[in-house]
């Protein structure tokens, strides 16, 4: 396949960026999107140019490092995959592909396609945990049975990889899907109920402080989420938040 890539290049957070055009040849369908960028980078290095910087690590869709806005969609045109698992067979010979970083005020660009997602860490630090010491001296794991349905739903919410696609997909750059996934994971488990009130209040407050936008229920986040995190989590967080606010 021959392709034309239009890639966002930006030296650092202080400078302005721009889209630059790179033709690329010899792309195979079995390559992942990032392997296609590896080929481009090898070529750039050989020509004495600076390679394109992008975040990536596990390359199996679980670490949440990779991002990229591909032709306007976070993680590109395929569904339920991260960019590292997007394969070039999704594209056709002669295509032009526009590659940009995730765009959000709370995700400033560091360089080229790399953005700063530390706001997500700070939301987790505000309450995304159960306050139990790691002494191992807790009760036996089977002392509290958990309804399988709740356990499964909690697990589904917990599979969020923190990549930020939900924010990049949202016209308001809202982080509601991300935040609600963690709130839901704990809200659905008996051991998480104890701090439920404080947790939701603190995490939502931090989310707002980071400059993420509001949720207007368009559902774009759910469609673009590589892990299929459900919008129901947002509804659950709203209920949790409302009841916590009344208590608080």
């Amino acid at each position: 396949m021959k392709l034309t890539l239009k890639i966002w290049r930006q030296k650092n957070s202080q400078t302005k960026g721009e889209l630059k055009t790179y033709p690329i040849d010899g792309v195979e369908g079995d390559m992942s999107f990032l392997e296609m960028l590896d080929v481009l980078n090898e070529d750039l290095i050989n020509k004495g140019e600076e390679p394109v910087v992008f975040d990536h690590d596990c390359r199996e869709g679980i670490c949440g490092s990779c991002s990229l806005q591909i032709n306007g969609e976070p993680h590109g045109p395929d569904r339920l995959v991260t960019t590292c698992q997007l394969h070039m067979r999704m594209f056709n010979d002669g295509d032009t592909i526009v590659i940009e970083p995730f765009r959000a005020k709370a995700f400033p660009v560091i360089k080229d396609l790399v953005v700063d997602r530390s706001a997500f860490d700070r939301i987790q630090q505000a309450g995304g945990y159960i306050s139990v010491n790691t002494s191992g001296n807790t009760i036996d794991a089977n002392t509290i049975p958990v309804n399988k349905h709740d356990a499964d739903e909690s697990f589904e919410a917990a599979t969020c990889i923190g990549c930020g696609a939900c924010v990049a997909a949202c016209k308001n750059a809202s982080a509601m899907l991300f935040t609600s996934a963690k709130v839901s994971q704990f809200a659905l488990l008996p051991q998480g109920r104890i701090e439920a009130t404080e947790r939701v209040l603190n995490m939502v407050a931090q989310m707002d402080k980071e400059g993420f936008g509001n949720c207007s229920n368009t559902g774009a986040c759910e469609i673009e989420c590589p892990k299929g995190i459900s919008l129901e989590n947002i509804a659950r967080m709203n209920r949790e938040y409302l009841s916590a606010s009344l208590k608080g």
Binding site: I45, D57, R59, R89, Y129, T134
Partner: protein, 667 residues
């Protein structure tokens, strides 16, 4: 040889850990506030230890090259975590988990360490459930288990195919609680590039801020390395792209011995290589071997017909298939340990029975499981005479519930539906049992420098059993290190803050600067990847699943030559004082190019086959690994002397007092 004192406590095996905990010194809570600890790596071993040490009151600084601790490669572990809970009532116990691990490791690990691991395993599950880790449950609400290779009980706890993710997020949440309290200061997007030793003790590190390029000095009373394994020395592996040996290699060069570098786990069930552009390999969890049956065609003609597309796997009847693991190992069948399964796959493919275009793949087939589960489900739903379609539909649902994400991942990568046609799999580098030598306290040969998780060598001998890496990482981090490091730190309560404006820090920082400048100014003609790929080829061809003296000797020479070529000819674009991914890669590959030679040297000196280390010269008539207990029942710990090809060997003899050492059989 006093340096290789394993410090194993005296007394009966089952009492050692308890007695040791009672004997060691503690640090008073008020004094802990004056003590700093550096943690390099935030995966299961590092994240859990950081959280626990901070809870105890120490001031912890964590370092990871990723943009968040949550992205450490523990996240990619799929299948599960072992614990001797015996919830299934199938005869499990601490002793059995201990025994399975020692045997699985082919009698090359330390009894006392492994027993401790088994002993604390049950606590891990309690801890994780308390933290809100959503393990799989049965309909009654209790925790579910499954089986992994090399054992005859079901002791593996899991969260679908994302167990590592869930456990890591548990440790990350515990870290977050401490970050919020101000007890952990996280340095993300930072890489440790050297260890600082003051008066013979580890007292700090030199790190590079990967965003600004700034070189930083960080001091502490102890330094913990939890930076994972070095499988990426093979270029292609299931490790993350950034996984590296640098932190371990730097402490090795500062005096920490490197143990058993050649013990590498080649995992049997990975997606086969598809082409030259390949950047990494993807694992398909071992848990799939609970339900998948591994086979190749019985006849070479059929294998050939499949390779050139004239036949499909489903065209072959059961009689025309060779379920070679079930044939060779009737009692463990498809659930033999990883090293055995990998070698058996290689043997069939080398003999001409491989099934994909390259001939380097075998089938992992779920058809029987789909049928079995389908019938069971139909019966549960009161349908005692289901049609074939109904059975298949119900069976697929069960498989989807168990392994859905893995099947989806396979389909995305290979573009084939594994519910309809068998998966193709082939072994790939996955885990390194070797690592920095540590004593019972997890302390390396450098006082104050501790090593946990995959980065150390301690618990898995020559082969790790499935679902035991997560167990070891969390055991080290939550339950072992927090006790043992206290004993060391109890001597530091009056030391006060370690200054960084000293000649030791100057020297280490200058060394790092020189290294980086050299790479940037080299202006050669080939990229870092060019050299990394070449190294990977040498490693895979000559130090991979089967090794021999001649190949290993030539590997040493080739790696040495490649290393010289790298330093002459590598090209690193960009500058030092900015984000520079190529420079990061270059520092890591430079270390791999040294480790690789030591790896081959270690494999060459070990004139026996054991676990993942298979020397062609040492095998039984049936092609099984042939150990030499008389001459090689020891840990090979290498001391750096300025040249990886000429390191000095130190031996820690292994003693088995509680287990009868015999030849490993899974037949």
């Amino acid at each position: 040889m006093s340096k290789l004192d394993s410090k194993i406590p005296k007394g009966p095996l089952a009492d050692k850990w308890t007695k040791h905990k009672n004997d060691i010194n503690l640090v008073n809570p008020a004094n802990k506030r004056n003590i700093d600890v550096i943690m390099v790596g935030t995966g299961l071993a590092g994240g859990s230890a950081a959280a626990t040490l901070a809870e105890l009151g120490y001031n912890v600084k964590t370092f990871c090259y990723q943009d968040s601790p949550r992205r450490a490669h523990s996240i990619a572990a799929q299948g599960g975590i072992n614990a001797a809970k015996n919830y299934q009532g199938d005869g499990d116990s601490n002793y059995r988990l201990f025994y399975d691990t020692i045997k699985g490791g082919d009698y090359r690990s330390r009894e006392a360490n492994v027993y401790r691991l088994a002993e604390v395993s049950a606590n891990i599950i309690d801890q994780c459930v308390a933290q809100g880790v959503p393990f799989a449950r049965e309909y009654g609400g209790y925790l579910d288990n499954r089986s992994f290779g090399g054992v005859l009980v079901s002791r593996t706890f899991y969260a679908k195919g994302q167990t590592g993710q869930q456990l890591l997020l548990g440790a990350y949440s515990a870290m977050n609680r401490q970050i919020n309290r101000g007890k952990i200061t996280p340095y993300n997007r930072h890489e440790m590039l050297d260890l600082v030793i003051v008066d013979g003790k580890a007292r700090g590190i030199i790190a590079r801020d990967l965003v600004t390029g700034e070189i930083e000095r960080h001091s502490a009373h102890a330094v913990v390395i939890a930076s994972g394994g070095y499988g990426n020395v093979f270029f292609l592996s299931t490790n993350a792209m950034g996984s590296n040996v640098t932190a371990s290699w730097k402490i090795h060069k500062r005096g920490a011995y490197f143990a058993n570098p050649c013990y590498t786990q080649i995992h049997p069930t990975c997606i086969p290589v598809s082409g030259d552009h390949q950047s990494k390999l993807t694992l398909m969890s071992e848990s799939l071997r609970n339900d998948g049956r591994i086979w190749v065609p019985k006849k070479k003609e059929d294998a050939e017909a499949i390779r050139n597309g004239k036949k499909k796997p489903n065209d072959l009847s059961a009689e025309e298939r060779d379920y070679y693991l079930e044939r060779r190992y009737p009692s463990f069948g498809n659930l033999v340990p990883r090293d055995v399964a990998s070698r058996a796959a290689k043997e069939r493919c080398d003999a001409g029975f491989g099934v994909n275009k390259t001939g380097q793949a075998v089938y992992l087939d779920f058809a029987s499981a789909i049928e079995r589960y389908g019938k069971e489900q139909a019966a549960i739903h009161g349908n005692h005479n289901p049609s074939k379609e109904e059975v298949t539909k119900l069976g697929k649902q069960v498989i989807e519930n168990k392994y859905g994400n893995l099947f989806q991942m396979y389909e995305k990568i290979v573009d084939e539906n594994p519910y309809e046609t068998p998966m193709m799999i082939y072994p790939a580098v996955h885990y390194t049992m070797g690592g920095i030598w540590v004593d019972y306290n997890l302390q390396s040969t450098i006082p104050g420098c501790y090593v946990t998780g995959e980065a150390n060598f301690s618990d898995h001998g020559a082969n790790r059993l499935g679902a035991s890496a997560l167990m070891q990482g969390l055991a080290d981090g939550y339950f072992v290190l927090p006790y043992t490091i206290g004993d060391y730190l109890s001597k530091d309560i009056k030391t006060g803050k370690i200054p960084t404006d000293t000649k030791e820090f100057d020297e280490a920082e200058n060394k790092v600067r020189e290294l980086l400048e050299k790479l940037i100014n080299n202006k050669g003609t080939h990229s870092v990847d060019h050299f990394h790929k070449k190294l990977g080829h040498i490693m895979w061809d000559k130090c991979g699943m089967a090794r021999n003296a001649k190949d290993l000797e030539s590997a040493m020479a080739e790696i040495r030559a490649l290393r010289e070529e790298f330093w002459r000819d590598v090209k690193v674009p960009g500058g030092m004082n900015e984000m520079n991914a190529e420079l990061e890669k270059a520092t890591r590959v430079a270390d791999f190019l040294e480790l690789g030679e030591l790896f081959a040297k270690d494999a060459l000196h070990r004139n026996e086959s054991c676990g993942g280390h298979f020397r062609e010269e040492y095998q039984t008539e049936e092609g099984e690994a042939l150990r030499d207990d008389e001459n090689f029942m020891y840990v090979a710990a290498w001391e750096y002397t300025g040249d990886p090809g000429n390191e000095v060997l130190h031996k820690e003899e292994l003693e088995y007092e509680n287990i009868e050492v015999k030849s490993r059989s899974y037949k």
